[in-house]
């Protein structure tokens, strides 16, 4: 029992860090650009599928780790430039466009990749022993890489000029523009980076979860919730919420059906969202 709990805890931490990686993508697009990106889950699935093909053709997971963010990030750049930029400022325009992109991407995957779930083999074989139970090294690797990327993201946002510009644009786009910041290009780069984050998370999780066209829906919803609950742009808080909710989910899943667990988790986070943002009087600002 104790070892089950520990395993669930470790699994939760690993999964939570991966969710946080997804959420970092949302920090960039939703937090900083205030763009409700409903295609985030689709880009995650696209990352997993592109990774699947890359690994099966090139036989190198390392190469895929470079290739996947680059290609899917490129798709994100194109989407921003040609689909989203023209409707910036149209009420709900961006939400609808990203929903359209999600439909196109997900069902294109269905057409090409097929509907049957497939799984990528572990690129790192071997186990470590946790309380006498073998635990795949690859999962720990996912956690470590995700954590490294979180740290990297925070460093870029807080220590570099690019990060400063992104934060400035978020706080006052008009002023940023007036100061001569390349707001249009910053938006492009931020969206591309957000997309690359989602794709990278998809690739890293491809050996752990089933790869299929609709794999992005739940993780997208959870990352939206942890992003909002963590405070939109506060990466550390978002990471904490992500890990905490993932540990909770994994522990509960010891007793409940996994689908039901995830549904319950979503509703708990949803209730938290309503409790915080659905209060009276928020709108009465002048």
């Amino acid at each position: 029992m104790l070892s089950d709990l520990t395993l669930a805890g470790v699994n939760g931490v690993v999964w939570g860090l991966a969710v946080a990686l997804m959420a970092v993508g949302l920090v960039l697009t939703f937090g900083f650009l205030r763009l409700l990106n409903l295609a985030h889950g689709a880009f995650y699935a696209l990352g997993a599928v592109v990774g699947f093909y890359a690994v099966s053709r090139l036989h190198s997971f390392g190469l895929a780790m470079a290739l996947v963010p680059a290609t899917v990030g490129g798709v994100g750049l194109l989407a921003e430039r040609y689909l989203l930029r023209p409707v910036r400022g149209v009420l709900n325009g961006e939400v609808l466009i990203t929903f359209g992109i999600a439909m196109i991407v997900e069902y294109s995957i269905l057409l090409v990749f097929g509907g049957a779930p497939r799984r990528l083999g572990y690129p790192l074989t071997g186990n470590v022993s946790i309380f006498g139970t073998p635990y795949p090294i690859y999962r720990l690797f996912v956690g470590v890489v995700s954590l490294a990327l979180l740290v990297g993201c925070v460093l870029v946002l807080e220590k570099t000029r690019l990060g400063l510009h992104i934060q400035a644009t978020n706080q006052d786009e008009g002023l940023a523009r007036a100061l001569g910041l390349p707001v249009v290009r910053l938006t492009l780069v931020t969206f591309g980076a957000g997309t690359a984050c989602a794709a990278f998370a998809g690739l890293m999780l491809a050996p752990i979860v089933a790869v299929e066209f609709r794999m992005g829906a739940d993780i997208m919803a959870i990352s939206f919730l942890v992003t909002i609950l963590g405070g939109l742009t506060r990466v550390w808080w978002i990471g904490t919420v992500a890990v905490a909710s993932a540990v909770f989910e994994n522990v509960i899943a010891l007793w409940l059906d996994p689908l039901l667990t995830r549904g319950v988790l979503l509703f708990i986070l949803f209730a938290a969202l309503l409790a915080i943002y659905g209060r009276k009087d928020r709108r009465r600002s002048v």
């Binding site: 939400v95 359209g100 549904g263």
Partner: protein, 609 residues
């Protein structure tokens, strides 16, 4: 009576029309009718109220499943099952509603996505009840109608069930149509475009949104039952937010803010879906591309393209059909509620303070505003009374340097922000936790209008803002009092020629006039004006001054104004504020000559002379 009959006839005709179609098309007609309710549900929320929802599929699927299970039980009966199923969905929506409708913008969208996704996951896991992704077949249906009442023999024919679906759908259509044409519909349209101003003129925004949310859920709930009857099948995937997303695309394709559009869009795309059924992956891709194209083209949908050719919407036509006479010269007095009875206190501020993040915006302000007099207690303890002259009403101008707290004081007067310290009381207005609810008209420095509605509708919005719940369901056109008030007001404001124009098409000066007009139309007891003459051309300035002069004779007024010449011409007493304190009171030139004011105000005074 004839109108009622015509409505009934139309509903019967719509509901039964499909029965005359051959085989497959008969099925398609009723399938589209049922799916159209999902699009209608989205349309009610998004098109009418501006709340984009991806969660309507939940109410559709939930009522569908409840009906699927109950319809097999003879003790419940078909009708009983349908009623319970719809009630379940509506009750769930009603329980979620109070918090959902308070979420703003993106948060509302994301909450609906999560609601749908969470429901989908739970439904998928409860395979015993839902059949999971593979779904469950419906039936065999019970042979009873309601409890012990047996099903009439004629109901055993498939056409009879189709007809029942058709009638239910047509009834929902009729209901939505009525709501859209009612006072409620106009107010909801106002909330969509300028929720804050709606709240400011006294409309219970959250309650109306809640009503619309429940109506939308009802549409989806009827749709859910109808789909089971037509398709005889339900699947957990119907909970998924992408199903709602399809509804969004149908509604947009058909035409946002139209009622027919929901079915037009559904008809177009459900037909395509059926045609592509062997290659079902192509359909969502097509839908995605179509949606992107529609948004990029700023398309208003199929039906809007038609109505654009046929002419403008119905609200103004109704008013014209009333043949209102617009008198050549209307006294503004008549449009404003006469303040009757003995003098009353409208607002009494006692030691009111407000701090914004460490900055003191208001520091122990004492001000009493009554229908016949104002009373000011200055920061140093001097007290002044302002009596209305000769049967008129008191009026006061707030002056002071930027950051003096003038606008904050106005916002506190209007109840937009609650005070941090002190008390606010009234013996005429409703005060809730330091905020006046309704009864105070406010114009804004930057006009806050419904830009995409006509001038007439803008004024009507003000006039209809505080109707009772009973009046809300009546058609806009039938509200003669509101229409008369709006037209008379337009006549006085010199906007008669522009009644049919969109508010966005007016010049800045006319927009400011209209902004004051909207505030007046809501029949306030106190009018609060924020820089009524700022930023307008000299000629429009004269016009606005004339308006303000007339208004100050008809109703108590508090205004903020930087234009000292205008205050002098209007002959208003001034209250001088600085650093959140009420410092001086008196006629303008007397106040300006005082030492303390000169110190604080020297820049402006030098510029003025």
């Amino acid at each position: 009576m004839t109108r009622r009959l015509a409505w009934l006839g139309a509903i019967l005709a719509l509901g039964s029309a499909g029965l005359f179609l051959p085989g497959y098309y008969q099925f398609l007609y009723y399938e589209v009718a049922a799916w159209g309710l999902l699009a209608l549900s989205v349309e009610i929320l998004y098109g009418q109220a501006g709340m984009l929802s991806f969660g309507q599929s939940v109410f559709l699927a939930l009522s569908g499943y409840v009906f699927l299970h109950l319809s097999k039980i003879p003790e419940v009966g078909l009708l009983g099952a349908a009623l319970i199923a719809m009630a379940t969905s509506i009750l769930v929506a009603a329980a979620l509603g109070p918090v959902m409708v308070r979420l703003e913008g993106h948060y509302f969208v994301i909450a609906t996505v999560i609601l749908a996704l969470g429901s989908f996951l739970v439904a998928s896991s409860l395979t015993r009840w839902t059949g999971g992704d593979d779904g469950l077949p419906a039936g065999p249906f019970a042979r009873t109608l309601l409890g012990p009442i047996p099903l009439p023999a004629v109901m055993n024919r498939p056409e009879a069930l189709y007809l029942a679906v058709g009638l239910a759908v047509a009834a929902m259509f009729g209901l939505t149509w009525k709501v859209r044409a009612s006072v409620l519909g106009l107010l909801v349209a106002g909330i969509k475009h300028e929720p804050f101003r709606m709240w400011a003129i006294g409309v219970p925004v959250a309650s109306l949104r809640y009503g619309i949310w429940c109506l939308a859920a009802a549409a989806a709930a009827v749709g859910g039952v109808s789909l089971i009857v037509v398709n005889r099948y339900a699947s957990a995937t119907q909970f998924h937010w992408s199903v709602s997303g399809e509804g969004v695309v149908w509604a947009i394709l058909g035409g946002v803010n139209t009622v027919w559009g929901a079915w037009l869009g559904a008809a177009a795309l459900v037909t395509v879906k059926d045609l592509l059924s062997t290659r079902f992956a192509f359909y969502p891709i097509l839908v995605g591309m179509l949606l992107i194209a529609l948004v990029h083209l700023r398309s208003e949908g199929l039906l809007r393209a038609v109505t654009r050719v046929l002419g403008r919407g119905s609200v103004w036509r109704h008013a014209r059909s009333l043949q209102l006479q617009s008198p050549a010269k209307v006294q503004l007095m008549q449009q404003i509620l006469p303040i009757e009875g003995p003098p009353r206190t409208l607002l009494a501020l006692q030691a009111v303070g407000k701090v914004f993040g460490g900055t003191v915006a208001l520091d122990r302000c004492n001000l009493e505003i009554g229908t016949a007099s104002f009373s000011v207690l200055l920061h140093d303890g001097r007290r002044y009374h302002l009596q209305a002259s000769g049967g008129g009403y008191p009026a006061l101008a707030l002056v002071g340097p930027n950051g003096a707290g003038k606008t904050t004081l106005l916002n506190v007067l209007c109840g937009y922000v609650g005070p941090d310290a002190g008390t606010i009381s009234s013996d005429t207005l409703v005060i809730e936790s330091g905020r006046a609810i309704g009864g105070i008209g406010r114009s804004f420095q930057e006009p806050r209008l419904w830009d995409r509605l006509s001038v007439y509708e803008n004024l009507l919005m003000g006039a209809l803002a505080r109707r009772s719940w009973r009046d809300l369901r009546r058609p806009v056109g039938a509200d003669k009092a509101g229409a008369e008030a709006a037209v008379a007001l337009a006549s006085r404001l010199g906007l008669l020629q522009e009644l049919e124009k969109d508010a966005s098409a007016l010049s800045f000066g006319k927009r400011k006039v209209l902004d004051i007009g909207v505030a007046l139309a809501s029949k306030p007891k106190l009018l609060v004006l924020d820089e009524p003459t700022a930023g307008v051309s000299p000629r429009e300035m004269t016009e606005l001054e004339g308006l303000v002069r007339e208004v100050t004779g008809s109703i108590p007024v508090v205004l903020v104004e930087h234009n000292l010449d205008a205050i002098r011409r209007l002959g208003l007493p001034v209250l001088f504020m600085a650093e959140g304190r009420l410092l001086e009171y008196g006629p303008l030139d007397e106040v300006l000559s005082r030492e303390s004011v000169r110190e604080q105000f020297s820049g402006l005074r030098a510029g003025e002379e």
